[in-house]
């Protein structure tokens, strides 16, 4: 076994050539490919990182906008709820006022109706009462009652004094028409004479007296001359009572307008 130096040098040369060939056809292309791929991967990673950062920003922006939108929506909802509440209160208030007004109108209407009914009932009652009284008194009236009325009339004439007496006398003296004495029934002669005498004694006029029967007087005697009247008659009483009761009713009715319940038939005035 020995070393062949030609072979050694040939092999060394072969090896050097092989080194160059390997560099040329193996290492350089492979390393270049690997480097290119690594650059590409790094670029893609950087790109992905950039995209991720961008997505993060977009997401943050979206979340911020979302939060803003939520706030705005909540604010709008609160505002709408407040407005709705205010509107509801306003409508309720309006409805209450309208109801109050309607109720007040209705109460007023009821009061008016009740008052009108009350007055009508009173008037009717009053009229009936007086009609009954007039009927009763006219049924009861007779010649004897008339005689008593003539006596009372004579007494009343004689009892005249002062300004009344002077006024009546003056009126009779200056009257154009004769003095008219009206009674419900035809007076007897002696009563006519007594009345004539009393007028003459009291008033000293001497004026002739005309006697007249008037059934509407009911019972009593009236002396009528030029609008003046000296009378004692039930009709006069009735008329004056009716007048006073009517005045009283007119005065007292407003007092009972305070409540609908008070304005009912059977009010104290009618009793």
């Amino acid at each position: 076994m020995q070393v062949d130096w030609f072979t050694v040098s040939a092999q060394a040369l072969n090896f050097v050539i092989l080194v160059w060939l390997m560099k040329r056809f193996l290492y350089t292309p492979i390393l270049n490919a690997i480097d290119a791929r690594e650059r590409r991967v790094a670029g893609e990673l950087a790109d992905a990182a950039a995209r991720q950062a961008e997505a993060g920003q977009a997401r943050a922006e979206f979340e911020r906008k979302n939060a803003e939108f939520d706030q705005q929506r909540a604010a709008l909802m609160t505002q709408a709820a407040e407005e709705a509440g205010a509107e509801r209160r306003r409508l309720l208030e309006e409805a209450r006022q309208a109801a109050d007004q309607a109720s007040a109108r209705r109460q007023a209407q009821l009061r008016n109706d009740a008052r009108a009914l009350d007055q009508a009932i009173r008037r009717e009652t009053q009229r009936e009462v007086y009609a009954i009284a007039r009927k009763v008194l006219s049924d009861l009236a007779g010649a004897s009652l008339e005689a008593r009325a003539a006596d009372v009339f004579v007494r009343r004439v004689r009892a005249l004094d002062g300004p009344a007496k002077e006024g009546v006398a003056e009126t009779i003296r200056t009257a154009s028409a004769p003095v008219l004495v009206r009674s419900a029934f035809e007076l007897p002669a002696e009563q006519r004479a007594a009345i004539q005498a009393a007028l003459d004694e009291t008033l000293h006029t001497g004026t002739p007296v005309r006697f007249e029967a008037a059934p509407e007087v009911v019972s009593g005697i009236e002396l009528v001359v030029d609008g003046h009247k000296v009378a004692w008659s039930i009709a006069g009483y009735l008329a004056s009572i009716e007048q006073r009761v009517g005045d009283l009713l007119a005065e007292t009715t407003p007092e009972h307008a305070g409540g609908a319940r008070a304005v009912l038939p059977g009010a104290p005035v009618a009793g």
């Binding site: 092989l18 060939l21 390997m22 056809f25 290492y27 390393l31 490919a33």
Partner: protein, 231 residues
């Protein structure tokens, strides 16, 4: 029986001989170069690539990683030399499964040539890294007294490289040859498989040793030598 493929001479003219070592080396060179050309002709820089490109990338990156692990900065600079050493020896070992093939690394001429290449490459890279003066200074470190020992170690390791690889490859071939004469069945296959393993180991050892020598040559003046822990 032949101990070396050098002894199989195809053609001779004077001292120029065309023996089996040179011819099989050319064959290996053709195989490696054509294979590389075929695969790297359509390299893909995309994320998807062919399985052959994957294989080459794995091999190349493994070599680069080994060089880096040994401590050589910028491994691409040494990839051409060290990678080719490994690939050549490994391919020669792998091709022993082909009947009739005799590995050129089984010839002392080839291993001596490779060791000489390492002998040249070490100062080459050392000078390229730190200049002529800087490289020569490494021979007189730590003292001038060490100069002859450094020179002897430089030569002796070259001899050791050559003989180690030759001995392993030749022994493998010889064992197979001897076993074939004794038991022609089964055993030669087992020994061939074992030879594949030892061949790969030898390729690895040769390349790593060359890398270590180069690393020693370019690291003679570390900037701040850290004290070894527990030293």
């Amino acid at each position: 029986m032949r101990l070396s493929p050098d002894e199989l001479i195809f053609w001779q003219y004077g001292f120029v001989t065309l023996n089996a070592t040179i011819v099989f080396t050319w064959g290996l060179m053709l195989l490696l170069t054509l294979g590389s050309m075929l695969i790297t002709r359509r390299l893909s820089a995309e994320l998807t690539r062919s399985r052959w490109q994957n294989l080459l990338e794995i091999v190349v990156m493994a070599i680069v990683q080994q060089i880096e692990d040994i401590g050589l900065p910028h491994p691409e600079k040494y990839l051409g030399f060290l990678g080719t050493l490994f690939l050549f020896i490994a391919t020669a070992s792998l091709c022993t499964v082909i009947p009739g093939f005799e590995p050129p690394t089984g010839s002392l001429s080839t291993t001596a040539a490779l060791a000489l290449c390492v002998l040249v490459a070490v100062p080459w890279y050392g000078i390229a890294d730190q200049g002529v003066g800087g490289y020569l200074e490494s021979y007189v470190e730590p003292t001038v007294v060490m100069l002859p020992f450094n020179v002897i170690s430089e030569l002796s390791r070259t001899l050791a490289l050559a003989v180690r690889l030759f001995g392993n490859m030749m022994s493998g071939a010889m064992i197979i040859g001897i076993l074939l004469t004794i038991t022609p069945f089964i055993f030669p296959i087992v020994m061939t498989a074992l030879g594949l393993l030892t061949g790969m180991v030898q390729a690895y050892i040769f390349s790593v040793l060359a890398a270590v020598y180069i690393a020693a040559a370019i690291r003679t003046r570390p900037v701040a030598p850290a004290p070894a822990p527990g030293a």
